[in-house]
Structures are given as C-alpha cells and as structure tokens.
C-alpha cells in the first residue's frame, strides 16, 4: 500500500524539455517525430543522484514488508533490465539496479538514483517477460531522464511518516476486529484509514507530470523493441491497467455514495471539525496511541470531502490506460509499423519456461501468494477459513521464504490472538532474516515493551536505526522506548531531530511522546 502520483506541474514540463531536448517532444511527452531513443541525450553524470541511493533504499525499506530477499529474483529482474539497456549509450555513472517490493500491489516505480522498484503483485499478474520489460523500460526512462525532483527524499520521508500512520490505523482496526470488538464504527474506521491511506499516497508522494509519464512510455517502448521483446506487450499491460481503473472508478462511486449516506447521518460539526478529527487521529497514532473508533470514523468525512468530492481528472499523473494505449499505438504506427510480430518470452515461472530458475521462483512466488491469501482471511474471515489459512501459512513460512518479512508478518498477524508465542516466533524469524521490515521491528518491539523487556526492545531499535538509514518513521517509537526506559534526556534529545524534517505531525508526535506536548 504505498505510493505516488503528482500534480501536473509546469516545473516538471520544463524539466522534461531541458533534459530531453527542447522542441523535440510534443506537449504529451512523445517525440514530435522519430523515435525517442534516437533523440536521447542522457545526463553526462549521474553521480549526484547515485549518492542518494542508501537513503532511497532506506526509505523504500520502511514501506510495508520491504524488499524480497531473493538473489535469484533480483538476478532475473536485473537481467531483464540489462537486456533493455544493451547498446544504449549511457555514462558509467548511470548504475541502475532493481529491487522487488514485498507487496501484492500492481506496482512499479523508480527512485532518483536509478533503482527500479517492482512489486510482487506485478510479477504475479504479468503474463510475459515482455510485459515486465515494458514496465521496467518505463521506469528506466524516468531514471535516464532524471524525472525525479530534487526533493524526492524529503517528500518520500513525509509520505512514509504520514502514510505509515494510516497503515497503523488499519492494523489497529484489524486488531480490534480480531479481538471481537468490531462494531460499525470500527468497520467505518477501517474504511476511513484505507481511504486516508489512498489520499495520502496520491497526494504526498513525489510525483511526475503526465508529460514525463508519456515520455517514459515512449522511451520504454523503444527500449523494449530494441531488446527484441514483443511490441504488443505494452498493450497487454494497458489492458490490465484499464480494467483496474474501471474497478477503481466503480469502487470510488460506491464509496462516495456510502460517504454521502454517512454525511446524512452525521450529527454535525462541519468540515473543519472533521479535519480536526482527522488530525487528532493522526496525532494519536503517530504518538503510538490507539485512536478511538469515533476518531477513526470522523476522518471518513474528511477524506471523502477533501478528496473524492474534489476529484479533478486532469490532476492525475497518468492518462487513463485506454488513452495511454492509444498514444502507444500511434507511436508504434509511426515509428515501428514495419516491425513484424515477435514471439513473447515466457516468464521464468511460466509453464512453458525452461529457465533453470523456474523451480526456485515458482516456490518463492507461490509462497507469497499463499501468504496473500492467508492475509485476506486475516482481514476478512469470509475470504477463506482457518484451516486453509494455516495450511497456506505453513507453506508460506517454509523454505525458501521461511525468514521473509512478508510471509512471517502475515503469520504473526494470523497467530496474534490465536497463539501469541507462534506469532512472536514468526517475527523473531523475520527479524533475524536477510530483509526484516520496519513493521516486523515495530510489532516485535511492541511485544517486548508489553513485557517490559526493554533491553531487547532497545537492541531491535538500534538495529532498525542502522537498517532504515535513521528514518524519521522510527522516531516516535524510539522516543517512546527511551521514556519507558527512564532515559528522559535521550528522549528529549530526539525531539529537535524530529523538527528537522519539517513535518508537523511528526514533530507533534515526538513532543507528545517525550512529554512535551
């Protein structure tokens, strides 16, 4: 659950023309004639953005369950990326890499340093390597063009702090449900948190313009064709996106209708009071507290009033997928019409694949699918049953994913109330694994805190500080732990650090936790 979109920005358009060559590109980002790759003028030096890689990776690692720790999967995706770049003249300082994000979302993005982020959900749904290559080519284009704004890290950290709080709200709501305390307000609160998360994801993350996205489509298409992949693959990707967009539009309409019904029942307070309610909830959660169900419900109106009711199509980052497909088709017709059909390349986990990686990657991805299905049952008992979920988790937490944060975190959630020792064991496994996530650290720290085992909690927190590049996301919990340990001086010393991020919610949470609020 995380991520981006950007307001259409003149600055971004200017950036595009300066990086790609003024006058060569249409206002939609496609070349006015010829191929984008033939007009490509990469930056002379990418060292400045490359220096930001450790910080970018630290930020990405705080999302959800972080990266999938699989050398095989990394090497496969890296191989696709290098095939796309073969023969493209780029300076040695352009050093792209790829990481797989452990999330069921259908997601691809790129950090400023040239790290492509591909989600497990994307890998699960794409049907050919050619489709994957187009997504990766699109993201590579962003990196080559240096589309990310200089304040990416700052915005990404802001997103991580606020969005992480919303995610926590979902977890809090889910816990309440599992504890048998579910009521209408909790259910509403879950909806609220989900929509708040969506709102923050769309608004807060570093964003690009439509023109930049179109330029990335054009160059991504060129890279795809040059590498010998099937040029029809982008259409298949757009078909998938179009379907998701249609489903999203239908869900939004239903959500809006539900919100309007809620508004009709609302006893009042007005919009600003709802905003206040939302702020209050965020502050409560960010400070490590548990929001009331009323607080969670209040923010629904806030979210819908400010977002859904104020929709503006022209402010989305991307054209709708059907329009993107049309633009890609126009480009294909103009620049590549004489290219004949190409046989698609199977993904290494496809039935027809002869890849030596096939057995390992099938096991890996099927375990993630098992964990996702178990997670669905944790969220909604109508999606499956306990015996099925236990069997799924038994598979998901076996090799090669026995110490993966995603699979173990789902197991921890499932066993949270059923078998706390088993839940803790899953978290301990993940914490000792190759890519423990912040959510794993956070949940395990809470367990240690609850039993007053502060040394273990502090040891975890010290590890997390290093692992997540001293992320601001950690600060409220670090302060909370210092206070509990009686280290008030250390707690207060972190408050000025919170202020340096210029995020009011974070500063307030830090001060409140340190006893200064």
């Amino acid at each position: 659950m995380r991520k981006l979109v950007a307001p259409l920005s003149l600055t971004a358009l200017l950036m595009l023309s300066s990086s790609a060559g003024a006058g060569l590109f249409d206002s939609n980002g496609y070349p006015s004639k010829g191929r984008a790759i033939d007009q490509l003028k990469p930056a002379a030096d990418y060292n400045d953005v490359l220096k930001g890689r450790p910080l970018a990776l630290g930020i990405m690692r705080t999302r959800g369950q972080g990266f999938v720790p699989s050398r095989e999967l990394h090497d496969y995706a890296h191989g696709v990326m290098m095939r796309l770049l073969a023969g493209v003249k780029l300076p040695p300082s352009f050093q792209p890499d790829v990481h797989i994000l452990a999330t069921p979302e259908f997601a691809g993005e790129c950090t400023p340093d040239g790290t492509l982020i591909i989600s497990v959900g994307l890998l699960e749904q794409l049907e050919t390597e050619d489709e994957l290559a187009f997504v990766m080519g699109h993201e590579l284009a962003h990196a080559i063009y240096r589309h990310q704004t200089p304040n990416w890290a700052k915005k990404a950290q802001y997103f991580a702090v606020v969005h992480g709080s919303a995610a926590d709200a979902v977890a809090v709501g889910a816990q309440a449900m599992l504890g048998g305390q579910a009521g209408n307000n909790v259910l509403r609160g879950l909806d609220v948190a989900r929509h708040l998360a969506k709102l923050s994801a769309n608004v807060l993350m570093p964003q690009m313009s439509k023109a930049q996205e179109d330029a990335a489509d054009a160059l991504g298409f060129d890279l795809l064709v040059k590498a010998g992949y099937d040029p029809q693959a982008p259409l298949a990707v757009m078909d998938k996106l179009a379907q998701q967009e249609a489903e999203a539009a239908a869900a939004a309409a239903a959500a809006k209708a539900a919100a309007q019904k809620d508004k009709g029942n609302d006893s009042g307070g007005g919009f600003m009071n709802k905003v206040g309610g939302g702020l209050s909830m965020l502050g409560t959660i960010a400070a490590g507290g548990r929001p009331s169900t009323d607080q969670m419900a209040d923010i629904a109106i806030f979210a819908f009033d400010s977002a859904v009711d104020s929709m503006a199509d022209d402010a989305t980052t991307h054209h709708p997928a059907t329009e993107r497909a049309d633009m890609l088709s126009t480009y294909y017709f103009a620049a590549y019409r004489d290219n004949g059909p190409v046989a698609p390349t199977p993904l290494p986990w496809a039935a027809e694949s002869k890849s030596p990686l096939k057995p390992h990657l099938i096991a890996l991805l099927s375990h993630y699918t098992d964990a996702e299905n178990a997670s669905a049952f944790v969220a909604d008992a109508h999606q499956g049953n306990a015996a099925q979920a236990q069997a799924q988790l038994a598979r998901a937490t076996a090799a090669p994913t026995s110490d993966h944060a995603y699979t173990d975190f789902v197991a921890a959630e499932y066993y949270d109330t059923r078998n706390p020792k088993q839940s803790e064991a899953a978290l301990v496994r993940a914490a000792a694994g190759p890519e423990p996530s912040w959510e794993v650290y956070s949940k395990l720290t809470d367990i240690y805190i609850a039993r007053h085992d502060y040394p273990h909690a502090q040891a975890l927190m010290d590890q997390a500080v290093v692992r997540f590049e001293d992320s601001p996301v950690l600060l409220p919990k670090r302060i909370q732990l210092y206070v509990l340990e009686g280290r008030d001086g250390d707690a207060k010393a972190l408050v000025p650090k919170c202020k340096t991020y210029d995020i009011d919610e974070l500063t307030d949470a830090c001060k409140k936790t340190a006893g200064q609020g």
Binding site: M1, K3, P7, Q65, P104, E105, F106, G108, S119, G121, T128, V162, A167, V170, M177, V186, L187, L190, D191, A197, L199, A201, L204, E213, D230, P231, Q232, L235, K240, A242, Q243, A248, A249, A250, A252, V275, L282, S306, S310, M311, A312, D313, A315, H318, P320, A321, L328, S329, F333, G340, P341, A343, E372, S375, A376, A379, D380, H382, Y406, V410
Partner: protein, 131 residues
Amino acid sequence: MKSVFVLIVMGAMFAVPAAAATGDTCSASGDLVISARTPQVDLYDAAGGKRVQTMDAAKFPACTPITGRAPNMMLQISVSGTKYWVPPYMVKYRFAGKLPAVCRNLAMGSNTEKVGATRGLGEGCPKPGAK
C-alpha cells in the same frame, strides 16, 4: 509540506480515474474488434506471419468477431470471408470476459491503491467484515 492541511488542499488534485471512452458502439456481444485504431490496419496471414494486406481505417469492418488470440496478442478476425490476424495496437477491441478480481490483503493494508505507473488491486473486493 507543513501540515495535514496542505494535504487537504492538495487533496483537490486527487482523482479516481474514470474509464476512458472506447468508442464502442457495437451492439453484438462476445469478443470483438470494434474498429480501426490507426489510420491503416495491416492484415497478417498468421500470428507470427507476414503482412499480406493493408486496409484504410475507413474501410476496415467494424464490430468484427474475434475468432482467435495468439500468445503474442495478435487477433484473428474474418474479413470478406478470409481469416487474417491483426496486431492489437492497430485496432480497438473488446473482450467479453473479465479477469477475475484479485481480492487479497487488507490486513496488510496494501492492495487498494494506485501505484506509480499502475493502479492498485482489490477495489472490487469484499470489505473487511462485510457480511
């Protein structure tokens, strides 16, 4: 980036995408090629074969049933009684079937959002606790 109030203001920029118009005026059901998408449409003798004919968009038959789909997405249609394959980028098409919704997560708080170049999943899925 000072406060959540900024988020509210910027929230006006958030938009749930609407499905773009496809120009689909075909009354027939099933899998269809609706119309030409590019100024001309190339017809191939096989999914991986050669271009054997080119038709101007205006002369391309509308609402033509799709009789086959190759792994490389080429679409088989019949034109004047002869079967050809067309590249999907050259035509607007519609499939009657729908990919099943992927209803996962939610406890992980992860599958309901659009992301980067893409859209999230689960929008049509049951809500947590829904009866």
